[in-house]
């Protein structure tokens, strides 16, 4: 364990000494941007995974900032092959370990297998491989780092980019208000595969994230955890607001934190009062161009989806006093 980094800050001792591992598996020296929510998430997810695990990672921001030959920021055995095939690579690692275990060629218990990829590598180009791996029932955990666009290539839109957001390929203009489609519901797609554990999480809620990853790892069969990763570079937001924005995403219900265990929905973080969506949109430059009709439409749609989620969780609806009186005239796909 000496070769692993070790958390030594006094804050760590104060807040987390008895709950969280001190070992650092995602070490310093990686090249992520200032305020990167994803790097924060990776740090805590790798702690939750524990030492006895193998990680397969997709091409993307996190791969590029952490694995420039001959350096690496990963203390786990780690493999990167390509952009769209991480779930397939993880399937192979898991199957390979299984046969080695059966043949008595593994010295210890079978290591856990974790696949990681960005929102593009998960919900766009990697969706087929992920669907195949979930359908086949491999014993692995897939973690999606969702920073809501192709940040590594220069902030192009993905199917996970939220409605109205400005990206370099969904720019606002005389005939456009930015991204014209609603964010793809990757979590629902994972749930539809009938896998035993699906969750959303955020590094702004570290304990929630940590214990969800632990659950996912310990669940036999496929597990999927969708992590919202605030990206100051792509979201055009102040770098010191990354943790705050992750909290606002949950507090405005645009990214509620919940888990689906064997098909049963549980809200894991229920705000006493849902905040208006403007609180979340305003600090982000990518939404700066939006006018009231679009913001009202986003507000209506967010609450509509949150109500659906509450119903699935069997929870009563709070009041939403900030809702606009009538639906805004913006059409999706316009």
């Amino acid at each position: 364990m000496e070769k692993f980094g070790y958390a030594q800050s006094p804050k760590f001792d104060t807040y987390a000494s008895r709950l969280m591992p001190r070992e650092e598996y995602f070490t310093m020296g990686h090249r992520s941007c200032q305020g990167c929510g994803e790097a924060l998430a990776v740090r805590w997810v790798t702690k939750a995974i524990g030492e006895d695990a193998i990680i397969a990672h997709a091409t993307g921001c996190m791969e590029i900032v952490s694995s420039g030959l001959p350096q690496t920021a990963w203390m786990h055995p780690w493999i990167h092959v390509a952009f769209e095939n991480t779930a397939a690579v993880a399937s192979g690692v898991e199957s390979g370990l299984k046969i080695l275990e059966r043949k008595g060629k593994l010295s210890g218990p079978r290591p856990k297998v974790v696949a990681m990829g960005g929102d593009g590598g998960t919900s766009d180009i990697g969706l087929q491989a992920l669907s195949g791996a979930m359908e086949r029932g491999h014993d692995f955990t897939y973690v999606c780092w969702d920073n809501e666009a192709y940040m590594n290539t220069g902030i192009q839109r993905s199917s996970s980019t939220p409605f109205g957001a400005m990206t370099t390929t969904s720019p606002p203009g005389k005939q456009s208000f930015g991204q014209s489609t609603w964010k793809k519901d990757m979590v629902a797609i994972a749930v539809a595969h009938g896998i035993p554990y699906v969750a959303t999480a955020s590094p702004s809620y570290v304990f929630d994230l940590y214990f969800k990853i632990r659950k996912a790892i310990e669940t036999p069969g496929p597990a999927y955890v969708h992590v919202l990763s605030v990206c100051p570079t792509g979201w055009r937001s102040p770098t010191d607001l990354s943790v705050r924005l992750g909290r606002l995403a949950a507090e405005t219900a645009v990214f509620p934190l919940y888990e689906v265990v064997n098909g049963e929905y549980h809200l894991t973080m229920q705000p006493h009062k849902i905040r208006p969506i403007r609180d979340y949109l305003k600090p982000q430059g990518r939404f700066r161009h939006l006018r009231d009709p679009e913001i009202d439409y986003i507000q209506m749609r967010v609450i509509e989806r949150y109500r659906e989620l509450l119903a699935k969780c069997g929870l009563p609806e709070p009041e939403f006093p900030f809702l606009p009186e009538e639906e805004a005239p913006v059409e999706e796909g316009a």
Partner: protein, 397 residues
């Protein structure tokens, strides 16, 4: 043919089934595959061997060939002996990952049941699939009949897994006209194969006790050096390939060469073929020899690493070399084999006139008379002076 062959059983068997038995005898531990004609019989039979407990392996039915080769990488990275098979569009879909497989040095063995590439869609045999994957950095071998398919499927694991090689290996066998025919061949028993091919011990694998990062990206300062390393390893794998083939030769009495020669003594005219058309060409060579024509046949078995010296040796003394390609490099120099052979012979002070004929595309039948016709046409062409870069033989209209 000097050594005493090991205990051998001669059986009649579909060549695809023979390949799957070779993989079974090699004790492959992990297989990921996706169905594509005409490779299917190989993996169907392997999956039934696994289902019946006759092969202790993980068989993963993936959702595409792209995932098949990606899953194989994962299996190999975990430390398992890994096998897959594909054809045509499947190989094309794998394309991106094939380069990565060899660059990351995973000794995966793959059978390619060669088939034409679409479009138009054709399930029938030619070499256009593998010729699109010449530069993937794998060892690539062509076989001519069922016995060779069996032998090379076993040997491929030993070549690939050599610590000084560690490169994935493709065995090319012609779809349908080889993969689906029943041939008489000698199987080798399990004890002999076990002795020949010990259990796979990976040099690097994903192990939490010894964590490594695989597949890091390279900046311009190091990319060229990584590529040079790969190039040198692939070129030098030649010696290990021959060593394994010689060992197998001593064991079974069946000796293989990078460039096989048939009736080449005193031959002034040489045909060059790959894969199972070689057997058809042999018949034509026999008949032409009977008529007094000094014709011989070269069979290019080792495609990567390219056997430059063997080829240069083999064409010495010949006046005319006719390269028969089974793939078309559209808008280019005709056949890929032709262009490589021409380039390989170019530094020779005295070299044969080299002409190219493209035959048997998309399952078009090639019979012995076609080779005789080609020899006649090529002779006339050379005496009159070359007019065309290459010929697409037998094209109608």
């Amino acid at each position: 043919m000097s050594a005493k062959p090991a205990k051998a059983k001669r059986v009649g068997m579909e060549v695809s089934i023979a390949v799957s038995h070779a993989v079974q005898l090699a004790r492959a531990e992990a297989i990921a595959a996706y169905p594509i004609t005409p490779q299917t019989h190989i993996v169907e039979h392997l999956s039934s061997l696994v289902a019946n407990g006759e092969l202790e392996a993980e068989f993963v039915n993936v959702e595409s060939e792209h995932s098949a080769i990606s899953t194989c990488i994962g299996m190999s990275a975990a430390g398992a002996r890994t096998y897959t098979a594909t054809s045509s569009q499947g190989l094309a879909l794998m394309h991106e990952i094939l380069y990565i497989t060899s660059a990351m040095r995973f000794p995966i063995v793959m059978t390619v049941a060669n088939r034409a590439l679409s479009g138009p869609l054709s399930i029938w045999n030619d070499h256009s699939d593998i010729m699109g994957a010449r530069d993937i950095g794998w060892i690539q071998i062509f076989v001519e009949n069922g016995q060779e398919a069996f032998d090379h499927s076993v040997m491929a694991f030993k070549i690939a897994e050599n610590a000084k090689v560690l490169l994935p290996t493709i065995i090319n066998l012609d779809g349908f006209i080889l993969s689906h025919v029943v041939e008489a061949l000698e199987m080798v028993d399990q004890a002999t194969v076990d002795k020949f091919l010990p259990a796979y011990v990976p040099r690097h694998n994903l192990d939490p006790k010894h964590p490594v990062t695989m597949g890091a990206f390279a900046m311009p300062e190091i990319y060229t050096e990584v590529k040079m390393n790969h190039q040198v390893t692939l070129t030098q794998s030649y010696d290990h390939i021959l060593k394994v083939w010689n060992e197998w030769g001593k064991l079974t009495g069946r000796q293989y060469q990078p460039v096989e020669r048939y009736q080449t003594k005193d031959a002034k005219i040489l045909l060059l073929t790959m894969g199972c058309l070689s057997e058809v060409a042999e018949i034509a060579v026999e008949e032409m020899r009977d008529q007094g024509l000094p014709v011989g046949l070269l069979k290019l078995r080792l495609w990567r690493p390219f056997p430059f010296q063997d080829l240069r040796e083999a064409v010495k003394g010949a006046e005319l070399l006719i390269v028969c390609d089974r793939a078309l490099s559209l808008g280019g120099p005709g056949g890929p084999v032709l262009s490589e052979v021409r380039s390989a012979l170019y530094p020779m002070a005295e070299r044969p006139a080299t002409v190219g004929y493209i035959i048997g595309l998309g399952g078009r039948d090639v019979n012995p008379s076609a080779f005789k016709d080609i020899v006649n046409k090529a002779q006339a062409e050379v005496s009159e002076g070359l007019k065309e870069e290459f010929h697409l033989y037998g094209v109608r209209g």
